[in-house]
Structures are given as C-alpha cells and as structure tokens.
Amino acid sequence: MKRSHEPIFWSLFGAGGMLAALIGPALVFITGIAVPFGVVLAPDTMSYANMLAMSQHWLGKCFLLAVIALFMWHAAHRIAILLHDFGVHAVTMVKLLCYGLAFVGTVVAVYTLLAL
C-alpha cells in the first residue's frame, strides 16, 4: 500500500490551528489595533529598532517563522477542503496550489528571517 502524505499536512494544519486558537486574537489585537493606534500599548512598541532586535534574536526568528508559516499551512489545508466543498474537484491541482502557496510563503519567511 502506498503511504499517505496526509499526516504531514494534517499535523501542520493542527499545529497552526492550535497556535492561532491560543494566541491569534492577542497577536491581531497587538499588531493591528493596540500598537498602531496607541491603545493600552505604547505606540513605539513595534518601532524599527525593537522589531529589528526581535528579528535578530534566534528566539524572535523562531517565533515569527512559527506564526507566519504555521498559520499559512493551517489555512492552506482548510481552503483546499473548502474549495472541494464548493465543487472544485480538481483535487491534485487545488492541493498543489494551496500547499504550494504555503510552501512559498514559508521559504520567503525563512530566507528573509535568516538574512536579517
């Protein structure tokens, strides 16, 4: 029997979903509302110097990569199934496109974070 590669994608989907469920609302609130509009948090929290320091620390790199890449893999898996639900039955094509985009996003994130 041919081995399924489903567990790999499902693990990435699960990890991303769990990460988004646990800290997603806080991240969106911080980066999209609190900091840009100076609500509850200092407006210079995400200043160039601060974010550069974060992205140059290995822990910061890991955190940013985990959030960006896992969110993408989580979304890719769900969107692939969603397209099937809406009658797009070219399964291989849909999966190639969805997982492909998540893969490209991951590569770009890894490359950029390593270069910083």
Partner: protein, 132 residues
C-alpha cells in the same frame, strides 16, 4: 448513447440547508482570515529586511482607517476561530481517560478556552512588560 436523464439533486448552496453545515462553513471560512493575517505579518518581515524607511511605511499603513476596520474583522474571526477550534476538539482529539473515566467533551472545550485566555493574556503582558 443513453436517453436516460436521471434526476440529480443540485448541490448548490448545500451548506445553507442545515444549521450544522452553516456552523461548519463559518468555522472553515476563518481560514481565509488566518491566511490574510499571515500575509500581513510576512509583508511586515519583508519590509523590515528592506530597511527603516520601508518598515515605517508598513507601520504607517497599519495606522489607516481601512487597516483598523480590517483588523477588527480579523480579530472577530480569530476569536471565532478560537471558540470553534476548542468546540470541535472533543471530536478531533483521541479519546482521553483520567482515573478510568472518559474526559467529558465540555471539560475539553472549557480547558482549551481557558488555556487560550491565559495564553492571550500572557502574550499581551509579555509585550507590555518589554515596552512599557
């Protein structure tokens, strides 16, 4: 060639037929917003790597009204994602036993939601503690 033209029930709008399907769809559609937020962050990292001016343009864009509206929508969908994620968790995780008794679905959902609240507060206070 056959002249038979059997009736095939249309699948259009199948998910609107049942509250259960509507809830399923609402849960799955949050993925589009999760992807959108990942792209926002990825662009931020890319701009950061291009230097101070590029990064500050990205920050400036976050201060616009459309961005605020967008992030309020994102926040609502992320909260819904958290809520639905732990609501289906009793069905997605392996059956768990503690002291010979099966852990009840309500306990799993409740624990998950409590963990999410704690994790969100922890992230918020860590960020606040670093840049008071």
């Amino acid at each position: 060639m056959s002249n038979r033209r059997p009736y095939v029930r249309s699948m259009d709008g199948w998910w609107k037929r049942d509250v259960y399907f509507i809830r399923y769809m609402a849960r799955e559609v949050t993925a589009l917003f999760v992807a959108a937020y990942a792209v926002v962050l990825l662009v931020g990292v890319l701009r950061l790597s291009q230097g101070q001016a590029a990064y500050e343009a990205w920050l400036q864009a976050l201060k616009s009204t459309p961005s605020l509206v967008f992030h309020l929508i994102l926040l609502a969908t992320f909260v819904y994602h958290t809520w639905s994620w732990f609501n289906i968790m009793p069905k997605t995780m392996p059956i768990m036993f503690v002291g010979g008794k099966r852990v009840q679905p309500g306990t799993i959902t409740g624990t998950g939601l409590a963990a999410a609240v704690v994790a969100c507060l922890a992230v918020f206070f860590i960020v606040r503690g670093m840049h008071p």
